[in-house]
């Protein structure tokens, strides 16, 4: 008997498929296309092949800015990766212990900043750290550290670190929740069996729980990677599109913004901007690709 074409599947898929195609896939393809064009003074665009990419990577004016943004972005990612995620793991491990009083309350509190708008986060932290009326100098004074206070957001050497720590503060709740969810999903029998065998809590954590949540840690890593290489809003909210001082907080996102939209008297170039956006896309794509090929596949074995 001939089976009828499963129309219902097509019908149910259609809305998501159409919306995704129209608002994600097509703009992405158009961005890729636009990167091969150049804009003339009169506004019309002509095909130039790879010229934008060659300019971006070889013209010192562009490449210096690009590599600076790239380096800053790598630093930003590494700081967030190695500060945010260990803290998230620690918090999740603590919260998933039996009999922690007020665990739900802590969870909510730690997750709360994630829900705030980045503009508010940026504004609040600018005020907290303000050398004129911020509370941080006073608070440090209570423990005798007032002399160590610096205008961190204004110093070339510390602005990027400060901003990445602000980002950590805001988003630590997300990996914490993910890790927490997978920690409590570990069957109690396994833990109990280990305990009966005489394993210490420390031992259980490192040899049983941690390996079992590795897939989640992998997911967290990749989310951090994608999120940080797309980061833009916090920098823009706190430092503006020129990402000072001396471009020390310039990320690929702000670099792209200046190129695509222009800034003040710098006239934006949609075509050059598309080339930058495509480069960012390729960086993220290759990072995700490497991760999936080398790490995620091996992690599957540990999953249960």
């Amino acid at each position: 008997m001939k089976r009828a074409f499963p129309w219902h599947i097509a019908v149910f898929l259609a809305p998501a498929f159409l919306i995704y195609t129209a608002f994600s896939a097509l703009p992405l393809l158009d961005t890729l296309r636009l990167g091969f064009f150049t804009t003339h003074d009169s506004g019309h665009q002509t095909f130039v092949g790879l010229a934008n990419y060659i300019k971006l990577l070889t013209d010192p004016d562009w490449s210096a800015g690009f590599w600076n943004a790239m380096n800053n972005n790598i630093k930003f990612f590494l700081i967030v990766m190695f500060v945010q995620n260990p803290i998230a793991l620690l918090l999740a491990a603590l919260l998933s212990m039996h009999g922690v009083r007020g665990a739900k309350g802590y969870q909510t509190l730690i997750f709360l900043p994630t829900l705030l708008s980045v503009v508010i986060i940026g504004f609040i932290w600018q005020l907290i750290l303000s050398p004129l009326w911020g509370v941080s100098e006073k608070l440090m004074g209570f423990v005798g550290l007032a002399d160590y206070f610096q205008p961190w957001l204004g110093d070339e050497s510390s602005a990027l670190i400060t901003l990445s720590l602000i980002s950590v503060w805001q988003f630590v709740g997300v990996p914490m929740m993910l890790i927490y969810a997978s920690l409590i999903a570990i069957p109690d029998e396994i833990i109990e069996a280990a305990r009966i065998e005489g394993a210490s809590s420390w031992h259980i954590f490192w040899t049983i729980r941690l390996p079992l949540i590795l897939p989640t840690l992998g997911l967290v890593t990749i989310l951090t990677f994608v999120g940080n290489f797309n980061a833009f809003d916090l920098i823009y909210a706190v430092k503006g599109a020129i990402a000072g001082p001396n471009y020390s907080t310039d990320l690929l996102g702000t670099f792209f913004y200046r190129t695509f939209f222009g800034y003040q008297s710098q006239i934006g170039s949609p075509t050059m901007g598309a080339a930058v956006a495509t480069t960012m896309f390729l960086i993220i794509l290759s990072g995700v690709g490497v991760y999936f090929y080398f790490i995620q596949r091996k992690l599957q074995r540990f999953a249960f």
């Binding site: 204004g154 001396n246 695509f260 222009g262 003040q264 008297s265 710098q266 934006g268 901007g273």
Partner: protein
């Protein structure tokens, strides 16, 4: 991807805006979000007294987003009928791309002097594309109470300026309210303002454009040299001090002097509880001529795709009238009409600043014309370099070399 998110937002904005443009109505694009109430309560009702059947809507976008979102709306054909114009190259670029009408010979334009129109003309001066609306001036405000306590007078020369700052410092005040976190002040209200007396205003600016002077020449390095000496007079942690912090600092009466643009007057009128006065950038030596940065900042043009051009031109004609010039100068304190009409300025500090025109020579912001056209963009470079000089992270000489190198890279007359 970031780009997609922007494009998506822009698309949505364009769709929403499409419903707004109708014949019989006028929509004004502007970045002056601060003046929204003023337009709605004062300027538009005044216009409607003459033209009651034209409905005008003032639709501002935040200044930092204005240029990009306007560009998107113009490209998509959904921009408003009247476009508020940034001075010089940004609007010239719009005109070249066909997003602004030529205003040659349109009624109202005859009321403006050539010097005002130059900010919205093609390089050969043959086509005008925006009607000049207002200029801003740059200088310093001082707290009269603190000056009386210190027994000092508004300084005329750089030496006197330093003495005043030193006296304020000894008295435990913040001598000069200025921060470098937002960077633009370091260029737009410091470098291009206090530097003008060194490079003799227009003379120095035109010499740069003609290729007869370089940024590494002593008259330009001297400006950076002066800025590099300011660090000790600024508030603690000034590298993280934003523009809003600066405004608060002076308005709260803790600082003796603040570097300002004339638009700040309306802020301090509302927020400062003490009397204050203004003084122009100090001159290098006693007896030197003073120069002020007197910058055409805002104009208005017509969108060629407007469905209601007749009314748009009616509005422009009114914009060139005595009535508008008077309202604009006196209600939008700190913006000065650029027209030939005789207007009396009522605000005392605004008048004080305007009177500098009588004794000092006016110049525009150094890099505003032509110099911002290349890559690297000089405006962005100057923000960065000037902030670093104030922060003490870059020497005046290095600053000059960096700007000159970037300039000579693309500007032919500088390559000789």
């Amino acid at each position: 991807m970031q780009g997609n998110r922007f494009i998506r937002t822009a698309l949505c904005a364009a769709l929403l805006a499409a419903g707004a443009a109708q014949a019989g109505n006028l929509t004004i694009e502007s970045w002056r979000t601060d003046d929204k109430a003023l337009w709605e309560d004062v300027l538009i009702p005044a216009f409607n007294k003459k033209y009651p059947d034209v409905k005008v809507k003032f639709a501002p976008t935040a200044p930092t987003e204005y240029d990009s979102s306007l560009q998107t709306r113009l490209t998509g054909g959904t921009a408003g009928d009247l476009i508020t114009c940034r001075p010089f190259d940004k609007s010239l670029d719009l005109f070249k791309k066909g997003y602004l009408e030529s205003l040659n010979g349109k009624p109202g334009m005859q009321n403006f002097p050539e010097s005002a129109k130059v900010a919205w003309q093609t390089d050969d001066g043959k086509s005008s594309f925006c009607m000049p609306m207002g200029a801003v001036m740059h200088g310093f405000l001082y707290n009269k109470k603190i000056f009386t306590e210190l027994g000092v007078q508004p300084p005329k020369t750089i030496d006197e300026f330093h003495k005043v700052l030193e006296a304020a410092k000894k008295a435990g005040k913040v001598p000069l309210a200025l921060g470098t976190a937002d960077q633009w002040e370091a260029n737009q209200i410091v470098f291009t303002s206090i530097g003008a007396p060194y490079w003799k205003g227009e003379e120095g600016r035109k010499a740069l454009i003609a290729g007869k002077a370089k940024f590494t020449d002593p008259q330009f390095v001297a400006a950076w040299d002066e800025m590099s000496k300011w660090g000790p007079y600024l508030a603690k942690g000034y590298s993280a001090q934003t523009y809003a912090d600066t405004q608060n600092l002076f308005a709260s009466g803790k600082a003796a002097v603040v570097a300002v643009g004339s638009w700040d007057i309306s802020y301090y009128n509302q927020n400062a509880k003490f009397e204050y006065g203004a003084f122009p950038p100090p001159v290098p030596k006693a007896g030197d001529k003073c120069y002020i940065s007197d910058h055409p900042d805002i104009g208005m043009g017509v969108n060629p795709k407007s469905k209601n051009k007749d009314d748009a031109y009616k509005f422009l004609t009114w914009l060139g009238s005595q009535e508008f010039a008077d309202l604009y100068t006196n209600k939008v304190t700190g913006f000065y009409s650029l027209s030939n009409h005789l207007i009396s300025v009522k605000d005392p500090v605004a008048k004080q600043m305007l009177d500098w025109r009588k004794s000092c020579a006016s110049t525009i912001r150094l890099n505003a014309q032509i110099m911002n056209r290349g890559e690297p963009n000089m405006e962005n470079e100057l923000w960065n370099v000037n902030s670093q000089v104030l922060n003490g992270k870059m020497t005046p000489k290095d600053a000059a070399t960096r700007i000159q190198t970037g300039f000579a890279k693309w500007y032919k007359p500088q390559q000789k």
